[in-house]
């Protein structure tokens, strides 16, 4: 099929292979990423999210199973995995700890130069990426270590964006940010998808992060995929989610309580904006 960008096929992976009693970090994981999709990958800490996303750009080789990017097996011997890492951009958890250059500009051109771009093109790509993540141009000649935590994180994201990836995978990008920084970042990611058609995989342990923007939510628990569906369908399983240490979005709870109290509201609503309208509608 034309729009299937990436296929993960029965991935199994275990970290400590010398210990047969150790748990599998990934246990028979399969899913498909479509072009231009925004997928939320949700799971409790230790459920295998980070392990899974490191498979998507061939940083980890599965014990069994395969991954196909645009139809080609990425673990094939002659496959160009370096080029793949430019197309499937992965932003690690706490990416600000990977910064090393003297200026923001040289930090951001590191990726594109590695991908074989010449310096000039790389700088253009860097300027563009810095603008897209919402950093001011003044930052460009500053040391990345002088920036604030949120800005450092944007620099790190820009350094991946500058490689011009087709799929952008972000591992818990909102961890440790203040509420304003968090919603700004989520807004920026949403724009990347809407304006530029980049396929997004957003990893998080909070449903509220992905409820609004995601087209689809994949829920992981103990290395397995439990649900893979549109948000509304996934949130129907509130009890099961809670058992996994997760929760539905805040709005779901509010509307459920309202319904219990006798208000005729639609409990499938998950975003703040829709909830507001629904409540106003019922009240008037």
């Amino acid at each position: 099929m034309e729009d299937m960008k990436l296929i993960a096929d029965h991935l199994v992976f275990q970290y400590d292979k010398s210990r047969s009693d150790a748990r599998r970090a990934l246990d028979d994981v399969s899913f498909v990423l479509h072009k231009g999709e925004f997928v939320g990958l949700i799971g409790h800490t230790g459920s295998g999210k980070s392990t899974l996303v490191q498979h998507l750009n061939a940083l980890i080789r599965p014990d069994s199973g395969s991954i196909y990017y645009e139809g080609a097996d990425i673990y094939e011997k002659d496959y160009d995995r370096k080029a793949l890492r430019g197309k499937v951009g992965l932003v690690f958890q706490y990416p600000e700890y990977q910064l090393f250059e003297e200026t923001v500009l040289s930090e951001v051109i590191y990726g594109p130069v590695n991908m074989g771009m010449d310096k000039k093109d790389a700088e253009l790509a860097a300027y563009d990426a810095i603008r897209r993540v919402g950093l001011e141009e003044e930052c460009i000649d500053q040391s990345p270590f002088d920036l604030s935590g949120g800005q450092k994180r944007r620099v790190a994201i820009a350094s991946v964006l500058a490689m011009d990836p087709e799929i952008l995978v972000l591992d818990e990008p909102t961890a440790g940010l203040d509420p304003a920084g968090r919603s700004e970042l989520l807004e920026m990611i949403k724009e990347l998808k809407e304006k530029e058609g980049i396929t997004i995989v957003l990893v998080s342990h909070s449903m509220d992060d992905v409820a609004e923007a995601a087209d689809r939510i994949i829920v992981m628990d103990k290395g397995r995929i439990i649900y893979d569906d549109v948000p509304v369908r996934v949130f129907e399983h509130i009890n099961e989610l809670e058992e996994m240490g997760l929760a539905a979005p805040q709005m779901s709870y509010l509307l459920r309580d309202l319904k219990k109290a006798g208000f005729p509201v639609n409990t499938d609503i998950i975003t703040l904006k829709d909830a507001r309208e629904e409540i106003l509608k019922v009240l008037s």
């Binding site: 010398s18 210990r19 490191q54 750009n57 940083l59 370096k82 890492r85 430019g86 951009g89 992965l90 932003v91 690690f92 990416p95 700890y97 990977q98 910064l99 090393f100 590191y110 990726g111 594109p112 590695n114 991908m115 270590f145 350094s159 991946v160 490689m163």
Partner: protein
């Protein structure tokens, strides 16, 4: 990749060897290592190997896990063997170009190889069955007499235990940073030596920054809990010899006696 190094790491399990007092294990290991180098008769090696295997079985650490610890030093081992084989003079049994292999060389290489393997497995077994904290604790105890010579025993032990504590953390961090840079298109394998060395700058800079940050945090945390050096400091779990330690010392003395007898005999 980097995480495969098992040398010096603790393997959690509940066994007789794990429960021994760390001082017993430290003294035992040292005595064992010395015995390997004083006596060089084949019979002594056989006894040493049997002794090691018995302790290994008692420790319940999987044999495959032990062997993994040998991997990083495989190169040194092979290098030593070849050097010994080629550069020992004696009766030539095989000769090619300027290289001569002698009977004495083979014997030398064999005994060196066995000794190295036993040495590494022996010391590895100690670190696999003893947490770094307990090990440095034992060292501090055993080095106490040096305090009279004004050696800062406690400080040395504390530094060692902190360093040991941070090895796995820094290895994990290195792994993480390497992967993060790989995701940005880094290439640690191709190119000549200079290019390769350069490609590690993006790993080393974040690694050093993180090490300093951690050191700073740790110092702050220790100070916040009023750490002020070893003077008057008591221990949470004071070391105490138990029955099994006396049994272990007895076995150790028997082993040494056997080694001495065998070593002198032939």
């Amino acid at each position: 990749m980097i995480r495969d190094i098992t040398l010096g790491q603790y393997y959690q399990k509940d066994s007789l060897i794990h429960r021994l007092d760390p001082r017993t294990k430290l003294v035992g290991t040292l005595a064992y290592l010395v015995s390997l180098f004083i006596f060089t008769r084949p019979l002594v090696f056989a006894l040493a190997a049997v002794f090691l295997i018995l302790v290994l079985i008692l420790s319940r650490v999987p044999f495959s896990y032990m062997l993994k610890g040998l991997k990083p030093i495989l190169f040194i081992l092979i290098f030593t063997l070849i050097i010994n084989m080629l550069f020992t003079r004696g009766t030539v049994i095989f000769s090619w170009w300027k290289l001569n292999i002698t009977i004495e060389g083979l014997k030398q290489a064999g005994s060196m190889g066995i000794r190295l393997v036993l040495l590494i497995l022996g010391s590895n077994l100690m670190t696999l069955t003893t947490t770094p904290t307990r090990l440095t604790n034992a060292m501090e105890h055993l080095m106490r007499p040096l305090k009279l010579l004004r050696v800062p025993v406690h400080e040395i032990a504390m530094m060692m235990s902190i360093a040991l504590r941070f090895i796995p953390i820094l290895l994990e961090e290195t792994d993480r940073i390497m992967k993060a840079q790989l995701a940005r298109g880094a290439d640690f394998e191709s190119g000549n030596a200079i290019k390769k060395a350069k490609s590690f700058v993006p790993v080393l800079v974040p690694l050093f920054i993180s090490a300093f940050r951690r050191a700073n945090d740790l110092a702050m945390a220790m100070e916040a809990r009023c750490y002020h050096g070893g003077k008057g400091r008591t221990q949470y779990k004071p070391l105490k010899y138990k029955g099994r330690d006396f049994a272990a010392y007895t076995v150790l003395i028997l082993y040494i006696a056997a080694v001495v007898v065998l070593g002198k005999l032939c």
